[in-house]
Symmetry: C2
Subunit: 636 residues, 2 copies
C-alpha cells in the first residue's frame, strides 16, 4: 500500500478552550453524583457532562439535539454543588431559574460532587441523544399499529391475515408463525380492534385493543467481564432500567484467550459456556423487567454487542480459530435470530439483532463503539481506544476509518498484577502522590483490598512524575529515593527478590505481605500493555499519514477505559501527549451502540456499513511491529 501524503492540520478544539476555563481540572480523580428522584449515586471522571452521566446510568433526560445545547430540553436542577452558568443556560433560563440551580444537562460538565434533580420526561420526542453526543432520529424497527377491522361476512370472506395486512398496507411484513396462531383468536376476542406489532419486516403479534403506546426493547453489552442490559422505551429513546452483572462465564477464565483455551481442552466446555452466557442474559432480563415493572412479553426486540469471542460462545460457535494464528473469525455477520436463541425470554417471537464484527479482535462491541462515538461521521481526526485485555483502536478523520487490535494483556483488568483486582468495592481507583504522602480513592470508601486498572495507571504515572520510577520503568535505588522524597522512601521495600512500592499499609507499618503495593514486575506488565496499545495507534497514525499532535480527540472507551485518568494515561504514554481535555471518557459505548441500533433502522444500517468502511490493519503481520514496541516500552 502506498503511503498517503502527510497532512498538516489546523487544530481548533473546543476542549482546549474549556481547558482554559477549568484550570482546576487536571485530568485525574473521580466525582460523586447523586440523582433525584431516582435516588441513584454514580462515580464519574471529572469533565463528563451531567447528561452523559445520567444517560449511561439509565436515567432518562429529555434531549433531541445531540447534546449541543440547542434543543434546550435537557433541563436539570443542581440541588447541591455548583455548575457554572453557560451562555446557552442564559438563553434557556430566567435569572430566578438560574439561581434555583437549573442548567442544561448536556453542557454541564461536572467538576465537583453534585446532587441533581432530573425532571420527568415531558414530550414524546422525535430524536434521542445517545452515545457520545449522537443525536438519533427515532425510527425503531419496532412499530405498532392500532386498527379497527370490519368483521367478515359470507360476502366478505377475506382471510384474517389479509384483512389485517390490508389495514396496514404501507408495511408489507412477513407474518410469523406465532402471529399466525394468535391472529384468529385475538381479533375475535377483541371485537376486531387490535394492535399489530411489527419488528423490522416481521409481524410478530397482534394484541387486543390499543397497545400502541408501549414499545420496549432490550440492548445488551456482552462483555468478557461485565454484561450490561438496558431496557429501552423505543418511542422516547430513553432507558427505562439498566442492570449489570459479571459474565457467568468468569469461572472459565477472566479473558477471551483463557476461555477459548478451555473449550479446546474439553468438548463439554463450549456448550457449558453457551449456557452460562444465556443464563447471564436471562438473569439481566429478569432484573430490568422487574425493576421497570414491564411484562417481558411486551419487550419485542433485542440488540447485542459483544466481542467476537463472546458472540461465538453465546451462539455455540467453536472459537478456536479466533484464538490461534492466523486468528480467523467465523463470520462477520449473524443472521437475524430469535431472542429465544439467546436464552432471552421476552416476547416469544421477538427477533435478536447481533452487531457485526470486523475481525477476530475487532468485534461487535467496537462496531457499536464506532457507531456510538460517531467515528464514521465526525470530520475531526479522532482516536478511539477501547482499553482492556484485548485493546481495540479505531482512527478516523471523517474520510477513512482504520482499525486494529493490540494484545494488551490482562494488566488493565487487574490480571498478573500482584495486588490486582477488578474495579469493585475495596479497589484503589485513584492514586495521587505528594512529597509527603500517598492519597488514595477507594471504591465503596472502604479499606483498600487491592488495585484496579485505573489505580495501577495512576500509581505508575505518579511514581514517574515524582521520580521514583525512571523513564525506563525501574524503581530507583533506596539511597536515591531517600534523597529525592524522604517521606515516601520508606515505602520502597523488598518482598522476596522483588522491589515494591507500598500504597497502603495493612495494620502496623511493616506488614508488607498484607499491604497493597505495586511491584517492579507490575510496572513491567503495565509497560508491555501500554506499549502494545501505543504501538497500535502509532502505526495507525502512520498508516493514515498524520501526526499524533493532530489528533483532536481521544475517546477512552470500555468499562475500564472510561474510568482511566486522562492525565495518567498521557503521562505513561498510553495515549498521545495532548491537552488533557482532548482525552474524553466515552462511557459504555458498546451498550450505547446497541441501543442506537434499536432506536433507528438507519443506525443499524450504519453499523452494517462499517463492515465496508473500516479497514483492518493487522499488527502481527508488520515487520516493524517489534521495533516500535520496544521503542514504546519506556515512559515518555
Amino acid at each position: 500500500m502506498s503511503e498517503p501524503p502527510r497532512r498538516s492540520r489546523a487544530i481548533h478544539v473546543d476542549e482546549d478552550a474549556e481547558q482554559a476555563a477549568h484550570p482546576e481540572w487536571d485530568g485525574t480523580g473521580r466525582l460523586r453524583l447523586h440523582f433525584t428522584p431516582a435516588d441513584r449515586e454514580v462515580r464519574v471522571p471529572p469533565a463528563v457532562s451531567v447528561f452523559d452521566a445520567a444517560s449511561w446510568n439509565g436515567i432518562a433526560v429529555d434531549s433531541t439535539c445531540g447534546g449541543h445545547g440547542t434543543c434546550k430540553k435537557c433541563k436539570v436542577r443542581i440541588l447541591d454543588g455548583s455548575i457554572p452558568v453557560s451562555p446557552m443556560d442564559q438563553r434557556a433560563f430566567g435569572p430566578d431559574q438560574l439561581a434555583e440551580g437549573w442548567r442544561l444537562a448536556c453542557l454541564a460538565a461536572v467538576h465537583s460532587d453534585l446532587s441533581i434533580e432530573i425532571p420527568p420526561l415531558t414530550t414524546r420526542p422525535k430524536a434521542a441523544t445517545v452515545g457520545v453526543g449522537r443525536q438519533v432520529i427515532l425510527r425503531p424497527a419496532i412499530q405498532k399499529r392500532y386498527v379497527e377491522l370490519s368483521e367478515p361476512t359470507l360476502s366478505d370472506q377475506v382471510p384474517d391475515v389479509d384483512r389485517l395486512l390490508a389495514a396496514i398496507d404501507d408495511l408489507e411484513p412477513v407474518v410469523s408463525l406465532h402471529a399466525l396462531r394468535r391472529i384468529p383468536t385475538v381479533v375475535r376476542a377483541a371485537d376486531w380492534k387490535v394492535t399489530a406489532v411489527i419488528v423490522d419486516d416481521q409481524l410478530i403479534d397482534v394484541e387486543p385493543g390499543d397497545t400502541s403506546a408501549t414499545h420496549h426493547a432490550l440492548a445488551f453489552d456482552l462483555g468478557t467481564t461485565t454484561v450490561v442490559a438496558t431496557l429501552l422505551d423505543t418511542t422516547t429513546g430513553t432507558p427505562v432500567a439498566v442492570a449489570s452483572m459479571l459474565n457467568k462465564q468468569q469461572p472459565f477464565g477472566g479473558d477471551v484467550i483463557t476461555r477459548i483455551s478451555a473449550t479446546m481442552m474439553d468438548p463439554d466446555v463450549l456448550p457449558r459456556l453457551t449456557e452460562l452466557a444465556k443464563d447471564t442474559l436471562a438473569e439481566l432480563t429478569d432484573n430490568v423487567c422487574t425493576e421497570a415493572g414491564i411484562d417481558p412479553g411486551q419487550v419485542y426486540e433485542i440488540a447485542l454487542a459483544g466481542n467476537a469471542t463472546m458472540v461465538s460462545l453465546l451462539l455455540g460457535i467453536d472459537p478456536e480459530p479466533i484464538g490461534v494464528a492466523p486468528f480467523i473469525l467465523s463470520s462477520r455477520t449473524t443472521p437475524t435470530l430469535a431472542a429465544a436463541d439467546l436464552g432471552v425470554a421476552i416476547h416469544p417471537a421477538a427477533p435478536a439483532y447481533v452487531l457485526p464484527s470486523l475481525g477476530a479482535y475487532v468485534g461487535g462491541d467496537i462496531v457499536a463503539g464506532t457507531l456510538a462515538s460517531g467515528m464514521d461521521r465526525d470530520k475531526r481526526l479522532r482516536l478511539f481506544i477501547d482499553v482492556g485485555t484485548n485493546c481495540e483502536i479505531v482512527l478516523g478523520d471523517g474520510e477513512r476509518l482504520l482499525s486494529t487490535a493490540a494484545p494488551a494483556g490482562p494488566a488493565f483488568e487487574g490480571g498478573q498484577i500482584r495486588c490486582g483486582m477488578r474495579a469493585a468495592d475495596g479497589a484503589i481507583e485513584v492514586v495521587a502522590l505528594t512529597p509527603e504522602d500517598v492519597e488514595l480513592q477507594v471504591i465503596g470508601d472502604v479499606e483498600p483490598r487491592g488495585l484496579c486498572g485505573s489505580g495501577l495507571v495512576d500509581a505508575v504515572s505518579e511514581l514517574v512524575r515524582i521520580g521514583l520510577l525512571d523513564r525506563s520503568g525501574r524503581l530507583i535505588s533506596e539511597e536515591a529515593a531517600r534523597e529525592l522524597v524522604p517521606k515516601l522512601a520508606g515505602r520502597l521495600v523488598q518482598i522476596g527478590e522483588e522491589r515494591v512500592f507500598v500504597l497502603h499499609w495493612a495494620g502496623a507499618e511493616g506488614d508488607v505481605a498484607e499491604s497493597t503495593y505495586i511491584s517492579q514486575r507490575d510496572v513491567r506488565e503495565l509497560q508491555f500493555a501500554k506499549a502494545a496499545i501505543s504501538t497500535g495507534w502509532t502505526l495507525l497514525l502512520e498508516e493514515m499519514g498524520v501526526e499524533a499532535q493532530d489528533v483532536q480527540q481521544v475517546l477512552l472507551a470500555g468499562s475500564f477505559g472510561s474510568y482511566l485518568s486522562p492525565a495518567s494515561a498521557i503521562r505513561i504514554g498510553l495515549v498521545p501527549r495532548l491537552p488533557v481535555l482532548r482525552i474524553v471518557s466515552a462511557g459504555n459505548v458498546a451498550g450505547e451502540g446497541a441501543k442506537m441500533t434499536l432506536l433507528s433502522k438507519a443506525e443499524r444500517a450504519g453499523a452494517e456499513a462499517l463492515l465496508k468502511e473500516v479497514s483492518y490493519v493487522e499488527l502481527s503481520d508488520r515487520p516493524d511491529f517489534n521495533d516500535r514496541f520496544v521503542d514504546l516500552l519506556a515512559f515518555p
Copy 2:
C-alpha cells in the same frame, strides 16, 4: 358481476379418438399391475398410463418430455399381459424390442392386468414428469456446491463464512445459525474441501468433502384421512420411497368439521391434534428414510399440501373460524417454517414450505392439485373435482380459473352409510349387476366386509341402470322388481323400517343383518352428496359462460376420486355426461403438486401465483343454490 357471453367451442379431444380405439373400456373396474424389480403390486382404474401408475406409487421412470412420447426415455418392458404398439413405440424401438414387450410407459394405457419391468434410471435428467403429464424442468430449491477453499493466513484473514460465500458468489444465501455453528469446525476437519448446502435463499450447512450428488427432499400430502410421504431425489425428480398411513387425528373425527368441533368443545384438543399431526409426519418420515436407506440428516427440505383445516391443526392455529359461518381462513400463506416446526426430524436447519390455501374450503391440497394437473396452463376447458367430504372444484379454460367448494358430506368416505367403510381390505370397490347376478371386486380379494365410496357409487349406478332404482332415487316395489329382474328381486329386503338391496349375503342367504347391503337411506345420502357436487360445477360452468358438453376433460382427484369408476360417475350425475374417456383419474395430485414445488422454484412461484389467478365462487351465498341443488338430486 355481469355474465360473460356464452361461448360455443369446437371440441377436439384426443380421448374421444382413444375411446374409439378401445371400445372394450367402459369406464368401470380395476386392474392389477405388478412392477419388477421393485416387486410392487398396485391396483388402478383402466386407461391410466403405465408411467403414471408407476410414478404415483413411487417407482421412478425416466422421462423428460412431460409424457408426450417425444423424449423416448420412459422405456419399460411388458413381461405379462399386453399393450398395443403405438406409432411412437415404432419410432422408439426395433421390431425385436417390440416383440420382447418394450413400450414407452407414458403412452401405454393399461386395459388389462400387467406385469411390467421398469429399468433403472440411466441419465441425470434435466426435467421430470410429475402429476397429470406435467413436465417439470428441474430447478429445485436445494442446491449443493462442492468447493475447495484456500487456507487462511496472517495476510489473508478473511472470515470462514465470507471465504465460503466468495467461492459460491453467484448465490447470495443468508447463513443459518446451524451453518454458522458448523462452518469453522467442518472446513478445518475437511481440509477446506466442503460441500455447501443451500436451500432457497439459505445456506443451511456445510458437509465434509464432496456430497454434491445427494439431494433429498420430502413431499407430504396431509389428508384428513390419509397422509402420504414421498421421499424425492431432487436431482432426478424421481421418488425414492413412498409411504402412507392414516392421519393419527382420526380418533377425533373422520372429517374436518368433526375435528373442528372437537377443538371447540375442549381447549386441550387443538394442541393434541397438532401433536398427532406431527406424530403422523414423523412416523412417515422414519418409514420413507428407512425404506430408502437415506440418513434423515441428508434430507434438506419439505413441502406440504393439505386442506386449510389440516394445515391449521398442524400449525396450532384455531380452526373454529373455518368451521362456522362465515367460514374464514386465518391466512392464505404460511411463512417459510423449519421442518422441526412440523415435527419432522430431518436436517436440523431444513426449511418447510407449506402450499398456500385459496379459501377456508379450497386449501393447499387443491392449489397443489391445480398445479399438478396443469389447470393453470392448459388451453382446454377442464373441470377438476377433488371428491371427498368437502369436495373442491376448479374450472379452467387457460384464461380464467374458477373454484368452489361443495359440502358433499361423508358418504364418499363411507360415513353415514349403513355398510360403509374406508377403502381398505374387505371393502367392495367395484360393483357390476347383470340380470342374473351381482359381481363384486373386493380390496385384498377377501370376504366383503363393507362398501367403500367407489363401490357405493358403482352400486347406485348399477341399480339405476338395471332399473331397480328409479330416477328419483327410490327402490322400486318388490312386485315391479320380480317382473323386471326376477333373479335379483330376492335381494330387495326390509331391515326394520328401511328397504335395502343386498350386495353380498353373509353365510346362509337370509342373514340380512350380517350381510353387505345398500339401503334406501344410503342412496339418499349419495344423492345429497352428488347433488352438492354437480350444483358446484353447474354454477361454475354458468359463471364461465360455457356448456357442460364443452368440457374437454374432467379430472377426478383425491384418494377417493381417483378410484371412482368414470362410467358410474357419469351415470349418477356426479360429473357431466361426456364420453367416458374424457373422465380421467388424476391420482394423488395433492402429493404430486407438493413434489413439484420441491423440484422447481418456478412451480413454487406458480403455486403462489394461483392465489391471484383463481377466483373463488362462494356457493352458500348464491340465491339460486337451493333450487339447483333440488333439481340435481335426481339421477340423469
